[in-house]
């Protein structure tokens, strides 16, 4: 086993570990959706505004998870550690 094989194996493990970042957005978006449902239940006439604000908040909460995905994608497809 030479060096690049080790780098490839460790990069695959690292990509898997990077996707642990998906936990955070899951919790955050679930919280946002729950609060949104609460808001619609309390004030059904404001549904349009609530849904729009909720989607915006969910998209911002998603950012950290997307960063994790980008790190995983870079490790898998554009690995900076491998010699060119």
């Amino acid at each position: 086993m030479d060096g690049t094989d080790l780098i490839k194996a460790c990069s695959a493990i690292g990509a898997g570990l990077a996707m642990i970042a998906g936990i955070g957005p899951g919790i955050g978006q679930g919280y946002a959706a729950g609060k949104g449902a609460e808001g619609v239940g309390r004030q059904p006439e404001a549904q349009g505004d609530i849904v729009r604000t909720m989607l915006l908040g969910a998209a911002v909460a998603e950012t950290t998870g997307i960063y994790g995905l980008i790190v995983a994608l870079i490790l898998l497809f554009a690995n900076p550690f491998l010699p060119r």
Partner: protein, 232 residues
């Protein structure tokens, strides 16, 4: 670009300029939107026909959204926001027609978000004056200046990577699914990949239609919010 899920090189111009799939699909979308705009604004009747009704609803809803999000005084931004919404929306949905969405390339999304970045700062200077703009970086305390600068620079990057990550994540899952269904049908002894028909449709609806339209809406909304926040 070396294998994997990157855009294919279509042609390489002399001088090392690469025309990739992203560029050709963007040209196609530009053509489509231009033709649509030409026919939509060719003639307006007093009594609108079906097509004109659809166009009127589209334009009115974009103006309404801009007015609701940015306020009555910033209604001039509506044409740009409408263009952004239509371009990103069509680009994301183009995966349904077997094309590679241009937004699955970080160059496209970063270009769009840098446009937003410059609009935010230009309009902030224009409406607040350069003095108040500079003073905004020293708030709430002067020693937070580096943090404020990093925060401003992080905005376009997070905007670009949000769109890119969503679309490219969906694209990779679709490519993997097609590969898996193809190899399953080969190992079952069927010559043609019969399993590839029908099964991916559900995921296409989720990743291309739902997530794509949602992300185009979110990109436009965040652009509006950033600009109107910088101007107030």
């Amino acid at each position: 670009m070396n294998g994997g899920f990157g855009p294919y090189k279509v042609i390489e111009l002399p001088g090392g300029i690469v025309i990739s799939q992203t560029v050709t699909v963007t040209w196609l979308i530009m053509l489509l939107l231009t033709v649509f705009a030409y026919f939509a604004s060719k003639k307006f009747n007093k009594v609108p026909d079906k097509f004109q009704n659809v166009v009127e609803i589209l334009v009115e809803s974009i103006y309404g959204l801009t007015k609701q999000t940015m306020g009555e005084d910033k209604i001039n931004f509506a044409p740009y926001m409408g263009t952004l919404l239509l371009f990103i929306g069509v680009a994301n949905v183009s995966g349904l027609f077997g094309l590679r969405p241009p937004t699955a390339d970080v160059n496209t999304t970063l270009g769009l978000s840098i446009m937003t970045f410059f609009m935010v700062h230009y309009n902030s200077i224009k409406s607040n004056g350069i003095k108040n703009y500079m003073k905004g970086y020293l708030e709430p305390m002067p020693f937070l200046l580096p943090l404020n600068i990093i925060g401003e620079l992080a905005n376009p990057i997070s905007l670009a990577f949000r769109l890119f990550g969503n679309i490219v994540g969906g694209l990779i899952i679709m490519v993997l699914l097609y590969g898996a269904l193809g190899s399953i049908s080969t190992s079952l002894g069927i010559g043609i990949p019969i399993l590839q028909a029908g099964i991916p449709a559900v995921l296409h609806i989720y990743f291309d239609l739902f997530a794509g339209l949602l992300q185009s809406f979110i990109f436009t909304m965040l652009t509006m919010v950033f600009i109107s926040m910088a101007m107030d």
